[in-house]
Symmetry: D2
Subunit: 378 residues, 4 copies
């Protein structure tokens, strides 16, 4: 219900503005007994940290996370473990460059949420984007690091698969490649193309959109639920809640509209597990690992579209709070392609959504999944 909370049982409430003292989140509902220290969270924050290349904002923030509650350790508890009580995470804002905000203090930047915030609240913190700043995603990434520990057998990975008009060739998709370049690009041949495109965009003071692909491996069958609590519906809300997201699709997604029923059906064959029980082997995954809102045991796959960063140097026509027509250029330290930095955030939202689905599934059914050859509940 809360406007700044996501999740139902694994429940994350985020807070903070770009230029306030700090930002953070409270993770409530985490299972007890999970080893957790700052060292488990920091690496994920480091991955999303800006200031790491010329194509992301130059704001320099250490993004050092502190765990303020919810963990405990003593002589009998080597390291620390979660206690089942709320985990409060805080990241201080240090590099709040003191610049002159007088130009945008009363102007509505086109493509930004400035006007919408004004219309709703009548007041807004315009410094550095305020609540709407991409800095808020640090809290999501921190929460995602905890979520990953709730579902340790699930592997989550994301990549940028399109920047501007330049899409990765699915045939050359190599997840390992994402770590070899600053764009999370899974296609070695595309790196130079993107670099050239982004350099051009950056020099022009412009920006560009992107598409991020994400997948979760190791999700067992049975997570999620009909009908409003569908796994894909919940994940879609999570992805769409990321700044600048404009669309989300699962499996074949929008391409499925052009499919025939024969193409779309993910056929199944038997596969014999180590325990002698039969599980289905799917011959395709157009469903993206979710059918009827419930996971099938296949990889959960999704794609999220991000619009170009709204801050650009070219003057655009707009209004100010007085209702006067003005032209505005948006200066500052900004990403030419916000989609690049979204990669760890998309992963984090996947992790949080799946951890929540796992807990909900365990609540209703006790956990586990029935497999073909088992008697079911009849």
């Amino acid at each position: 219900m809360s406007h700044n909370t996501f999740g139902h049982l694994f429940r994350v409430t985020t807070w903070g503005e770009s230029h306030g003292a700090a930002l953070g989140c409270v993770v409530d509902g985490c299972p007890p007994g999970i080893p957790l220290s700052e060292a488990d969270i920091q690496p994920w924050l480091d991955r999303r940290r800006p200031g790491q290349g010329k194509f992301v904002t130059q704001r320099q923030e250490p993004d050092a996370v502190r765990i303020l509650s919810g963990v405990f350790g003593d002589a009998r508890t080597p390291g620390q473990v979660t206690t089942g009580t709320p985990i409060s995470l805080m990241i201080e804002n240090l590099d709040q460059r003191s610049r002159d905000y007088s130009e945008i203090a009363q102007a509505f930047r086109p493509g930004h949420a400035d006007y919408a915030y004004f219309a709703k609240y009548g007041v807004r913190d315009y410094r550095g984007g305020g609540r709407q700043s991409a800095r808020e995603t640090a809290a999501r990434v921190a929460a995602g690091a905890i979520a990953r520990k709730v579902i340790p057998h699930v592997e989550i990975r994301a990549a940028v698969v399109q920047i501007g008009p330049h899409a990765v060739d699915p045939a050359r998709m190599d997840w390992a490649e994402t770590l070899n370049n600053p764009f999370w690009c899974p296609d070695a041949a595309m790196v130079a193309v993107w670099e050239e495109h982004l350099e051009k965009v950056r020099k022009a003071g412009s920006s560009t959109g992107a598409i991020v692909a994400v997948e979760a491996l190791g999700v067992p069958a049975g997570w999620g639920a009909p009908l409003y609590g569908k796994l894909d519906a919940e994940l879609a809300a999570g992805f769409m809640s990321i700044n600048a997201a404009k669309g989300v699709e699962f499996g074949a997604g929008f391409a499925a509209a052009a499919f025939s029923g024969e193409e779309n059906a993910d056929e199944m064959r038997a596969t014999r597990g180590k325990d002698g029980l039969d599980g289905p082997e799917f011959l395709a995954n157009h469903a993206g690992g979710v059918m009827g809102g419930i996971s099938t045991g296949q990889p959960v796959t999704a794609r999220v579209a991000f619009k170009p960063t709204s801050s650009i140097l070219t003057p655009r026509r707009t209004l100010n709070e007085a209702g006067e027509e003005i032209e505005l250029r948006t200066k500052g330290r900004h990403d030419p392609c916000v989609g690049i930095r979204a990669v760890p955030v998309v992963e984090a939202m996947m992790a949080c959504g799946l951890a929540d689905a796992f807990l909900r599934h365990r609540a209703q059914t006790g956990g586990g999944a029935f497999r073909p050859g088992e008697p079911g509940r009849r």
Copy 2:
């Protein structure tokens, strides 16, 4: 939280299976004093009713809705008005054709949720799709009819804009045209193409996907909220909760990934209202009427992708509950293109989501929106 509830303040809980005695929903949180009788709901149900053409399932259901609670009228209350208490709606299932379900009772139809339900619950009502039946959407449409009355100044309309590979030409888009053909097609020139395509699909016992476009006119600025309760995030969850939905996008959506920042910025000019106050006139609506999760006063526009109906006559490889490999043809009364019947359902989810956003906005701010030229809250 509940798996079968959507909305937070305008709150709809649906129930029912395809072949049970009835289906329905409870609408809780509706404002009091709204005139409401069955006659306000029935027309919307009639629009989604199957059996109206050869391209939708031939199941014949009157879908007559009964209001069981939450309204009251007496001599001083001409007609009936909502009382603010929960409104229970029920639609009886009448045409539950008694056929032989023995073939699918233990088989997992590919592309259906059969296996996922079995894995999760160990038991499922396989008759006519059970809970997963498209019949469930009747409850959504009924709830949507009430939601429309909560926000009477908002006009909601949807259309099919793509069937299989055949997309409508945006330049020929004419909303009025949707009422002149059985496909909710807004492009007169496309009707014959779709008819031919669907006839071919139907004769082949196949099916096809579709894309539905929806827009809401008259949504004032200020509805929605950062950051998990974003208007587009909530609506996305609503759309994705519809059977067979595989993707959702707002405004420019996935196309925004290829945009430059200049193309994407929705510039603003002043427009003078009747009361002399300035409001922004947007020169484009790539944002789809939502920025930072909050409505801007522009039309809220979205598109939803639907996969092909999973029930097809061509045998597909699959498993049964015993883990045996089988081939399965899915007989029965099915839509070759489930996307067509989704049109009133997409509208209903838009209506429910907006009614909820309206109530939440009114709660936090008292309602209304600040306009340029007004002093705001400072």
Copy 3:
């Protein structure tokens, strides 16, 4: 959040008015595979059914419950089991005696919610109490019957322990005795006293208050949670949501205010279970089975105070909707002591609250409880 829903994972949404076509509820989140038919619910409804004695309202309702969804059975499923989808329950209103409501249609009966409803909604269904009727509790009792099956090892029992000024002697408390008299009185010696008191009250057209005691045996340690989701806080809300409830206490309750710390401490000794593990044996249960919001393995004990029925024959001063001062006698078929009929309702709220707590506990921890002698999570 919803005004007419209780529970978080075992989630009950009730609907219906006294004189509408029907009333009922939707139970969402019930685990799958639980045998359930109308025959499992009806006996509990029969227990609360009015018309069974001269000290309860003479309205004659069969209160026959129908399960409209959420269960399934076939040849392989003897009887029916829950499917994990929402269970819709409906009870038709049959004995809506057509009487003249003109006197109260515009008058605010003192002690009733008439004025509060008018002030809030501006409209109300005044027939038979409308939404505020005690008939609504039938839906709770039906839901409670399902909740009991979710936690079959928990035994729940309630009794009336005070009617008017006449309280049961704790030393003579005998739960079995509650079935031997029409007052759920656990003290055989008190039955005649209450009978005489109630007869006097009834003849005077008056009414009287009561206190109901309830306890749940077999609740394992570990259910509930700090700090707002405390088991006793959640149960308190459930009990207070019953019509006419004015107070609730757990364990020693208000008497604990007069205790010293020594009296209040529930000391523990070791008790050796069948499996050789030590569990605590408590030497007292002033805590009422809940400490820090979490169950201790002791019986969960509570008491709920009910005010006298507000409908009485003695004229009372009040206003009508026009703001005029009037005197009003409340005629009709009413209980002189609504607390008597509350017994099965209190039990039902205990059952629903505990089923919800069980599912939430299972979600976060996997279920189970650590016992002294076990290593815990360290």
Copy 4:
């Protein structure tokens, strides 16, 4: 849903342990434009601060609150106002006296939540009570200070009305008197009695229970809702969520059980407001300002029972984690009567509950209340 969140629209999520780095809360859903700085919150924290007398714990904490987000001020915004985004509040723990916890690290203190936490989580932070410490209530008081600003026309006041066996004489109740003594005692004649009683208790290393009365003046008619979202049910949950609370009652409460219907009916007469409209004047308030779950415009009155502090010096029998029987004395800095310090906490929970009810009422109805003589919605 979340275990550590209270409220639905005015939503408070608390976090922190007694001996962690800090504690705090996130207040989400607060209306925008409300002037708010630390100076608005600190006085309320100072009221609950321990170390102010010999009858409360001697822990010395400045309890200085910091607002980390959700407010903004600039040249045009004198001071700061809420922005409508989440307000993060933090209070550092400074006086975490490093003492030896080895005695209780593995022992279950009788009357404490030690065993329940162990049983549920298998791990617990035993230092200073951990999450269960009364220090957590500082976060509630801070949130309550904001809630009061959301409903500025409501005046909330609480008092201790019983300590041990010594109850205040209702006839001598004088709210102003509560500020003249360290016990929040509203009866000047009782102060010396309590002082003597507490001195005896303190010297004996014992403790004593208490009852706190609270009332809210200025709550308009119409807040709250049937049936689970009843105002009194929600407030009851809030009060019961406070440490050591064992019971709650509204209006006449448990005493209502002994009432006749005539005594219980709160009769009404007309009262003419300044605007010429008639509002009801109630001749009694046995209902405690709430009927049918909805406020009536009368003062909302409740009483909360607190058990004696569980930490006492007299050895009590108990177990340790190994399952061994031991005797335990609880040393440390503790309140002999935790009920005294509960006064500002009870007020805070009343404030938070009412602010939430106000926002929910405004959502559904637009705010306001119908008065006799007005046409209502018919």
